[in-house]
Structure formats: C-alpha cells, structure tokens
C-alpha cells in the first residue's frame, strides 16, 4: 500500500479518495447515531442468544416439530400459493397492456410519462397497506382480499418491468411490420410482442416467487394463508406447531422456486441470451420485491 512512494516519476498520480472517504464517514456517523439512539436495551441484547436459542429449541428439538399438524400446515401453505398465483395472474393480465402504454418507443412521450408515474404510485404501497386500506373493506376478510392486494401491487412492478423490456427491443421487426401495412395493433402484436414475451413471462414467474413470500404477510391482517396459522401458533406458545409451519414454508417455497426457476431458464434460453444485463435485471426484478 505504501508503494505510492516509489521513486519512478512516470508513475501516474493516485486518484483522490477524498469524496469516497467523506461518503464513508457520513455513512458511519449515521450508523453510529442510530445505534446509540435506537430503543434497544443493552440487557435485551445480552438476552438475545438465550432467547433465540430457547425458541429454536422449543420449535425443533424439545419434542420435535408437531408432525401431526403437517396436513393442516400444507393446506394453509397451498392457500398461500393460490393467493400468490391468482394475484400474479391478475397483475400479469392488467400490467401487460399498461406496459405498452408505459414504453416510450411504442407509446407517446406524454402517455408513457403519465403511465410510469401511475405505476410508480401503485408500487409505493406495500401489499399489506393495500389489503388493509382497500381490499379488505371491499372483499371482506379472507384470501380474496389478499389476492386482490397482491394483484394490484404486482400491476405496479410488472408494468414497470414490461415497459423497460419493451424499450429495449430491436426496432427492425417493428419497421418491417409497418412496411407490410400492418395496423398499429398488428404492429404491436407481430413486431413487439414476440420480442418481449419470453422475458415478460420470466418476470411473471419471478413475481410469483416473490408473491408467495408476500402472501405469508397477508395472513397476519386476516387476508388468508399460512401467515395466520403461524401467528396463531406463536401467540398460543405452540412452538412445536410453529416449527412444522416454518419447515413447510421453507420446503414448499424452495420447491416452487426451483420449478419456477427451471421454467424461467427454459423460457429465456429459447429467446435471445442476455447474460450481460443479468445483474441489472436481477436488481430490477428484486425491486419488485416490495
């Protein structure tokens, strides 16, 4: 590190790190301030390993998870999956046309700007807020409210991603379709849709994976699924039951992720390979996570 003092005059000067160091210092100050002021008792922190260890012991080790509850846990998990699936289907159907309106290259500048803002606004509300504020009043307590909340939130995220994919298309096929005298809708159908469909379907599946996690949340506010049963088990101190529920959540989620991931890869590999954008896409898709 001290090699900078090397005698060779041809050595280029080190770039200044002042800006970076300043940013790091600022971040460090914020973190320390938060750590000092947050409402966490040091005694609480000291009890932490014991508390976590105890719960883990009660859940999985003491008498083992409550295997007799397995069928019920699976039933609730299936309900969560169904909520997530229907919510994703709803979101996908509504977001596809909205994505076209939101893409600058196939819609007009004004329309796409307005549509982007609408999608951003929808996306800003977490599913649980949508469920409490809109869907439970309309549909009543139960899984249908959860499905509608997930669907609406998915419209925001999927619409944005669809618009971005459409903005990245090759204009050649669009021009070709136009040159053959296709009407505007036909241009979209034959010039744009085939180019974006594989990626968009992959996003739908990815969104489904995220929505499975989201549907677990909705049970807590009374919108159906596995979240409710876990909350019940924990509030009655039925830790061995909570243990089996967690096992089911992990097992089923990993299983569905694996199948869905395989299908996604299968769909994308049939399309143009876009490996260089993978990181950015993963970020975008994770952005859908909330």
């Amino acid at each position: 590190m001290t090699a900078a003092s090397g005698s060779a005059g041809t050595r280029p000067e080190r770039p200044s790190k002042a800006k970076r160091n300043l940013a790091l210092l600022g971040a460090a100050i914020v973190v320390v301030l938060c750590a000092l002021t947050v409402d966490v008792d040091p005694a609480e922190l000291a009890r932490l390993p014991v508390g976590v260890g105890l719960v883990f012991h009660e859940m999985f080790l003491k008498s083992g998870p409550e295997w007799s509850y397995l069928p019920d846990a699976l039933r609730y998990m299936v309900e969560s999956l169904q909520i997530a699936w229907l919510g994703t289907v709803l979101g996908a159907i509504i977001s596809l046309p909205l994505g076209f309106f939101g893409a600058r290259n196939v819609s007009s500048g004004l329309v796409s700007n307005v549509m982007r803002q609408v999608l951003n606004a929808i996306r800003a509300f977490p599913e649980v807020v949508l469920a409490i504020a809109i869907m439970i009043p309309i549909a009543g307590l139960g899984p249908v409210a959860g499905m509608l909340a997930i669907g609406l939130h998915s419209v925001g995220t999927l619409g944005k991603l669809t618009a971005e994919v459409i903005e990245g298309i090759d204009p050649g096929p669009v021009e070709a379709a136009r040159a053959t005298g296709a009407r505007p809708l036909q241009v979209q159908r034959w010039g744009v849709l085939p180019q974006v469909l594989p990626e968009v379907i992959a996003f739908w599946l990815y969104r489904f994976e995220i929505n499975i996690r989201a549907s677990a949340i909705l049970g807590v506010v009374g919108a159906g699924g596995i979240g409710f049963s876990l909350q019940q088990a924990l509030s009655f101190n039925r830790f061995e039951r909570a243990g089996i529920i967690i096992i089911v959540v992990i097992g089923v989620t990993i299983l569905v992720d694996t199948v869905s991931g395989w299908v996604r890869r299968r769909i994308i590999e049939g399309a143009e390979a876009r490996t260089d954008a993978a990181g950015a896409e993963a970020l975008g898709a994770e952005g859908a996570a909330s």
Binding site: A23, V31, V38, A133, G227, I246, A278, G287
Partner: protein
C-alpha cells in the same frame, strides 16, 4: 395454417411446433382454475367483487379525509423505522459480503463450502420477512430489536444472492494476475474481485435500505417496532382517518428515500 401446401419449393419448412407451449398453457389454465374454484381454491368470483365494490365506500371515504392532527404523533415511530432500516442494512450488508463470496463458484474455496453456503442461503431466502419478525418477537419480545433482526436476515438473503450473481460474472483476468503474483485466496478476492463488484455492492446496499423502509410497515404489524406498530393499532381501532395519515406519510418518506438513493447511486457508482 394450410399454407404448407403452397407450391413454392424454396419456402423454408415451418418449425415443428414445440410441445412446451401447449403444456404451459394447459398447466396455466389448470392452476388458475383450481386456485380460483370454490371447492379446491380460494373461491374467487369476479361478479361478487363487482357487486360488493361499494361495500368499502364508507371506509374509503374516511381514508380520503386524513386527520392531519395525528401527524406529529407518528414522527417518533417513523424515526424508529429509519433507525431500524439503517442498522439492519449495515449489519445485513456486512454479513452478506463474505456469504456472497462463498456462494459464488468463482471465489468459493471448495465445493462443499459452496454447496453448504448455497443451501443455507436458499433457506434464509425462503422465509418471508414477516415470519422472521414473528419468530424474533417470540424470542426477544416486542420492540425494534426483533425488527432489526428480522430485517438483517431479509437483507442477507437479498444482498448475498444479488452479489454472488455479480461475482459469478466478473472478469477472470485480474484473478489470474493476482494468483500469478503469488496472492493467496483472500488477497485475490480483496484485490481482484472486490474492486470489480464494489459499485454493485454499494448499489445493492442502498437498494436494501429502501426495501427495509418499506418492509418496516409490514414487520411492525406483528409488534417488531417502527411505523407498522402504529399502523396496526390505528387499524385495530378502525381509526381510518389516522391510518390514511400514516399511509400518506409513508408514501412521501419512501419517495424521499428513493430519490436520495438514486442521487447517491449516481454520485458513488
């Protein structure tokens, strides 16, 4: 479809229709029908929803007239949300860094470590943030500590996954160069891999910070601190005009954080 009978011999043959498309469509239709059905699924009926759409009218009318006098009472919990998000992002991202390097084939020291780390990571990712929050509330009691712990696990899952995928895609040239100069494994990672992925790491960290602010609504509902606690109590009291104050405030706060984060990302990365 009968165009195959066209006389021109030079027309290329239609590609054989793949079975994957019909199978996919049938699977899609079956899953959707089963999920929506009264008997096997959640009993979704679009007609019912449309018939009941004005059921919520009264509540929504109350939501549309926010009680702004409630606003000052939300600041303390909002600050708690911010503190939780900062601490959880910091701890989560710090832990995620080594976890990500062990979860990439490029940097993992050996196959067993790689597979073990991958397995742990997929288990961590399979549990939703709210389940972590419920379990930690059961373990350490209600309050921000449970929330911070829940968010830490959530962050490790997100950052380690994204970062390990970035590490998978690094240029291997600098790695060879470092090895050739006699660097050990840790030095190779520090001087060849980290500089390549560092901008992404910062971007992912800022991004999880945003996610944490959003997630804190959710985890507060089970008592794990932050603005969600207030949302839950007002919701329980059916104080809809207070609920809408929290929703609007949260919306503004998330927007602010997002703008700040975009600005920072542009400056730093």
């Amino acid at each position: 479809m009968t165009a195959v009978t066209s006389p021109a011999g030079h027309r290329p043959a239609r590609p054989r229709p793949s079975l994957a498309v019909p199978i996919g469509l049938v699977a899609f239709a079956a899953l959707t029908w089963l999920s929506a059905s009264e008997q096997f699924g959640i009993g979704f009926d679009l007609g019912d929803i449309i018939a009941d759409i004005d059921n919520g009218a009264e509540i929504i009318a109350q939501l549309l007239s926010p009680n702004w006098e409630f606003l000052p009472r939300t600041f303390e919990r909002m600050l708690e949300t911010f503190q939780m998000a900062v601490l959880a992002s910091f701890i989560g991202c710090a832990v995620a860094l080594p976890v990500a390097f062990l979860a990439s084939r490029v940097t993992a020291p050996n196959l067993p470590t790689f597979l073990l780390d991958r397995t742990v990571l997929s288990v961590v990712r399979a549990i939703p943030d709210i389940l972590y929050a419920m379990v930690f509330v059961a373990a350490v009691g209600i309050g921000p500590l449970a929330g911070i712990l829940a968010l830490v696990f959530f962050n490790i899952g997100v950052v380690a996954k994204l970062l390990s995928e970035t590490v998978d895609g690094v240029d291997t040239g600098p790695i060879e160069a470092a090895r050739a100069s006699g660097a050990n494994r840790l030095q190779t990672v520090r001087w060849s891999v980290l500089p390549q992925v560092f901008p992404n790491y910062i971007a992912y960290s800022l991004y999880t910070f945003e996610l944490n602010i959003r997630a804190s609504t959710v985890i507060g509902i089970v008592g794990a601190g932050g603005i969600g606690v207030l949302l839950q109590t007002q919701y329980r009291f059916l104080a809809w005009s207070n609920v809408s104050v929290i929703i609007v405030e949260l919306f503004a706060f998330v927007l602010l954080i997002e703008m700040l984060s975009i600005w920072l990302r542009r400056r730093l990365v």
